[in-house]
């Protein structure tokens, strides 16, 4: 019984929050358009479930995943170039650091001019927000190999290609999954901001249309969907990591 309670503890915080919220809103008699009660939000979510799923998966989820996939490919390729072509690093790094300090969201209107009101703008935004952490972590994972390991590989007759495949690439995997954990929510932010400024689909658009109509329960319902989607994504990345890089976790635990 006590053990069962222990497992429930992580959920207890949520339960307390929801109860306080529900009772508080009812007692204070808050207008629904300021702060709807959790039950109202859930009802709205249920009523709009098909719409929510459509906007989330057809628009937001799609542009997030495509943007992230692009960031993964480009980030790793750029890291490879920097790791293997040393002079490039000195040339490219200040440029990227400067680029990274531009708030990408401020660039969004420009992207609308270039890429239009469709999915492309959201994909590019998701890409821009998530590419940097992947790039930086990939440089570390591919580049920072113990000197002794490289010496050993060379003495054993290892060619650069074999060293890449059997040492650098595998070493980089946990660094890349770590980066994905950070990059995924960033890509999601990119997609949603894109939906805020242009177009008429996506979870971001639902939030915005809720705001226009003072349909606050819809705003909350859409936010809840976005949060669940983000949690799902991060959980999937975690599962992938647990499956492929058991060794990294084991060394960390020591």
């Amino acid at each position: 019984m006590i053990n069962a309670l222990k497992h429930l503890r992580p959920f207890l915080g949520f339960v307390v929050l929801l109860v306080v919220w529900q009772v508080g809103v009812r007692l204070a008699n808050f207008p629904e358009y300021i702060l709807p009660a959790p039950t109202v939000i859930l009802a709205r979510l249920w009523a709009t479930r098909n719409e929510q799923l459509y906007h989330l998966f057809v628009a937001t989820g799609f542009t997030t995943v495509v943007g992230l996939a692009l960031a993964l490919v480009v980030g790793v390729l750029m890291a490879l170039a920097v790791v293997y072509i040393k002079p490039l690093k000195a040339m490219i790094m200040p440029l990227l650091a400067a680029f990274n300090s531009i708030p990408k969201i401020a660039v969004a209107p420009l992207l609308v001019i270039w890429f239009g009101l469709g999915a492309e703008t959201k994909i590019v935004l998701a890409f821009l927000l998530s590419v940097f952490p992947i790039f930086v972590n990939s440089i570390t994972g591919l580049g920072e190999i113990e000197a002794d390991v490289l010496d050993l590989s060379r003495l054993s007759g290892g060619t650069p290609w074999r060293i890449f495949l059997k040492v650098r690439l595998i070493n980089a995997v946990p660094y890349i999954t770590d980066a994905l954990r950070i990059a995924f929510p960033l890509a999601l932010v990119g997609s949603i901001v894109g939906e805020f400024i242009a177009g008429n689909v996506g979870a971001g658009y639902l939030v915005l249309s809720g705001q226009f109509n003072l349909d606050t329960p819809l705003v909350f319902a859409a936010l809840l969907c976005i949060t669940l989607f983000a949690t799902l994504g991060i959980t999937l990345i975690g599962l992938l990591e647990n499956h492929f890089v058991t060794w990294k976790h084991s060394t960390r635990r020591r």
């Binding site: 050993l152 054993s156 290892g158 059997k166 040492v167 084991s250």
Partner: protein
């Protein structure tokens, strides 16, 4: 097997190795002993072709060394095992680097693992092993392709004193099977006397050879021999050669 002629090595202003010449015969176990910073490890790296000498040259099997040499096993102070590989696949790593099939050397690897007392740990991950066991895996890895030359750079330097002593005997056991030519860098005098046929004693920086001591103790060397008067005498001879800056 290995000839070193007038070897000098500087890093900018700092001279690591002043002047060094010696020969290593086939099947000889040679140790290089000296204080920290005398260029022992640098000498080993030059022999391996991982670093270029400033002057002089190294011949391995009669050919001058230019770039990483082939058919050599190397053991470093740290085990440098790949954390994502098991004991067995770590031992087989050099085979893959050579572009050969792992399966061809599987039996050899298992035999070495058994010889090193690691039977039953073939599929363990490196983090599941103690420091001494990890270093034994590194020794197996150095020997898996049956190289005729083995370079060891303070291989037991990171181990506690008890493990270190045991590892000395373990190495002797493994080495007595293949009788590879070994160049063994250490700063432990007892270790050098216990394992070697020849000890090259070096001075502090810049490293030069102070004396070459021949160890005429019979093999196999047993723990009891460490109290043997000849053992004590040889160890004292080596110690006398080493500068006051020596710190054990």
């Amino acid at each position: 097997m290995v000839t070193i002629e007038g070897l000098k090595k500087s890093f900018g202003e700092v001279t690591a190795i002043g002047d060094m010449s010696f020969n290593v015969a086939n099947h000889e176990f040679l140790s290089i002993v000296g204080p920290s910073g005398c260029g022992k490890s640098t000498a080993l790296r030059v022999i391996a072709g991982l670093t270029e000498p400033t002057a002089g040259k190294v011949l391995v099997r009669g050919a001058e060394v230019r770039g990483p040499i082939k058919d050599v096993g190397m053991v470093f102070q740290a085990p440098v095992l790949l954390p994502w590989r098991s004991v067995l696949t770590n031992v087989l790593f050099p085979i893959e680097m050579r572009g050969e099939r792992r399966s061809k050397y599987q039996a050899k690897a298992l035999e070495l693992i058994k010889l090193a007392g690691l039977e039953g740990f073939e599929n363990h991950a490196p983090y599941q092993l103690s420091g001494g066991m990890q270093q034994r895996v590194a020794i197996c890895r150095a020997l898996v392709s049956s190289p005729q030359l083995l370079l060891m750079d303070e291989p037991f330097g990171a181990l506690d004193i008890m493990t270190r002593e045991r590892m000395g005997f373990e190495l002797q056991k493994i080495w007595s099977v293949g009788r590879q030519t070994v160049i063994f860098v250490t700063h432990s005098i007892t270790e050098a006397v216990l394992l070697s046929d020849t000890i090259v004693v070096m001075s502090g920086r810049p490293g030069t050879i102070k004396k070459i001591v021949k160890v005429d103790l019979p093999r196999p060397r047993l723990a009891s021999m460490m109290k043997d008067p000849r053992f004590v005498e040889l160890a004292a001879d080596v110690r006398d050669q080493i500068d006051a800056q020596w710190v054990e």
